[in-house]
Point group: C2
Chain length 298, copies 2
Amino acid sequence: MNERVGYIGLGLMGRPIALNLLHAGYPLAVYARRESVLRPLIDAGATSYSSPQALAAQCDVIITNVSDSCDVEEVVLGEQGVIHGARAGSVVIDMSTISPGVTRTAAQQLAEKGVEMLDAPVSGGTVGAETGTLSIMVGGKADVFERLRPLFEVIGKNITHVGGSGAGQVAKACNQLIVAQMMAAIGEAFVLAEASGVEPRKVRAALMGGFAGSRILEVHGRRMLEHDFLPGFKASLHQKDLHIVREAAAECEVTLPGTELVSGYLDALIDSGQGELDSAALVTVLEQRNGVMLNKTP
Amino acid sequence: MNERVGYIGLGLMGRPIALNLLHAGYPLAVYARRESVLRPLIDAGATSYSSPQALAAQCDVIITNVSDSCDVEEVVLGEQGVIHGARAGSVVIDMSTISPGVTRTAAQQLAEKGVEMLDAPVSGGTVGAETGTLSIMVGGKADVFERLRPLFEVIGKNITHVGGSGAGQVAKACNQLIVAQMMAAIGEAFVLAEASGVEPRKVRAALMGGFAGSRILEVHGRRMLEHDFLPGFKASLHQKDLHIVREAAAECEVTLPGTELVSGYLDALIDSGQGELDSAALVTVLEQRNGVMLNKTP
C-alpha cells in the first residue's frame, strides 16, 4: 500500500505536485492557513488538518513546499510544527529551495526524534510540476531515498541522489547561480549585437545550434528579445535563491564573483519595483546601463 | 561548374575545410609560407601559388582562415595581398575570427576594386571542420551569400546569414563571450559544491537535464572535473577572441562586466604560462583563489 502523504505548502508548485500524488493513489493529507488554497485539494479527495503537527501525526511521509528557510523552520520546527507530531520512522521531504545549513539543522533535530529528512528541491517550473517532469535534486540517506523513489517518480523525471543532508539544496543553489549567469551572459551578447547594428534575434538563431546554445538561450533569450517577462520564475524568487547561494558560499569561505555580479542586476531590478517580472528581465538592467533597447517592435 | 577556390591559412581548421572542398569537387588553389603545410593539400590535388596576390588572380572565391585581425590585414590588404590580384566579381570569404571593425575596413577596400567580401567565422572546432558540421555565422550582402550557399553547405550545417559586413564577426564575438561566461559559472558551481562537501560530478549529473544544462556543462564540465585540459580550443585563442569582444564593445560604447570578469580569469591563466591548455582550464583560477581542487582522483 502507498504511504500516507501529508502536504504543506500548496502554492504554484505544491498544488499540482500534490494533485499528481493523489491521482497516483497516495492517500493525501493537507495543511494550509487559507481555506481557498485547500478547497481544490479537498474536492479531489484530500483530508485537511488544523496544523503541521496534527497532519504529521497521521502521515508516513510529510512533504513541505514553502517559500524560504524561515518558513521551513516554522512548519517543521515551530510551535505547532511537524516535529511535534511526526512518528519515529516517518520521513520529512522538503521540496522548498532553502539554505543547505538550515536543512542540515532541521534534519539533525528530526533525527533526534527518529524522523528522517530528505531535501529535494526541484527545477522545471509550474509546467514541470503539472506534467510530473520536474528535475529533483535529493540530499539525505541513500536508503531512505531509494525507499521513496516510487513517490519521486510520480513527481519528476530527472531524479538524482546528490549526497547527504543538504546536498540537494547545494545542487539547486548551483543550478540557480548557473542559470542567472547564463541569462546575464546572453544579455551581454544581445546588447553588444544591438549596439553594433546587428539584429540580436539573428545572433540568437546563429548561436542556437552551437556551443553557446542552451535551453536558456532558447526560452529566456526569446523572452529578452520580446520583453516577455510574464513569469515563469519571478526575479524576486531568483534573488532569494542567489541569497542562499551567497550564504552557502560564505559558510564554506568561497568567493563567487559572477554570482555577485548577477545578484547586483537582480537587486537593481527589484529596487526599481520589478521583482514580480520573470528573472530574465535582468537584461533590462544591462539595456538601461548601456542605453540600448532589445524589443524594437517593427 | 564549381567556383575555383583559393585557400589561405591551412592550419588546424583550414586544412580539413580545404580538403572537404576539394573532395566536393571544387578546384583548389592554396597558399602557405611553409612547404610542410602545403604538402597534404598538393598531394590531394591542390595547386600552390607563391603569394596571396598570385593565388587571388586565378580564383573566383578566396577563403582566408588565419589567426588574427593583423593576419587578415596582411594577407588581404598587404603588399602581396589578395586585393592586388583579385578580379572584379570575385569574392573573399574570411573564416578567421577577427574584429568586426577590421572586417568592415577590408570589405570596403575590396569593394572599391569590385571584389565582394563575406565574413564567415565558424564554431565547432576541428571535429566540426573535419566532419563538415561547423556552425557558420555569415556577414555581408545577402545575394552574395545565397550564391555561395552550396559552398558553405560543404563546410557546415548550421549556416546563418546574420546581417551586413561584420555581422558574422559580431555573432562569433557573442558566441565566445557566452561560452566563456558559461564555463566560469559552471566553475563557480563546482567550487561551491566541492567546498560544501558535495561531489561536483553528482551536481553535474543532477543539472544536466534541467535549465542549467548545456553542451558546455556536458563537455567542458567533464573537462573541469577531470582536469582534462588537452585542447580543444586553447585558452590563448579564447583570450584573443575576448579581446575582440572588448574592442567591439568599446567601439559601440557598451560595458560588458561579465566579459571583463572572465577575461581576467583567462589573463591569470595565461600569465601563469598555461595559455596552451583548453580554455576550460580557467576553472583552475577559481580553484586556486578558493583553495579547492576538483579533480580528486580516488
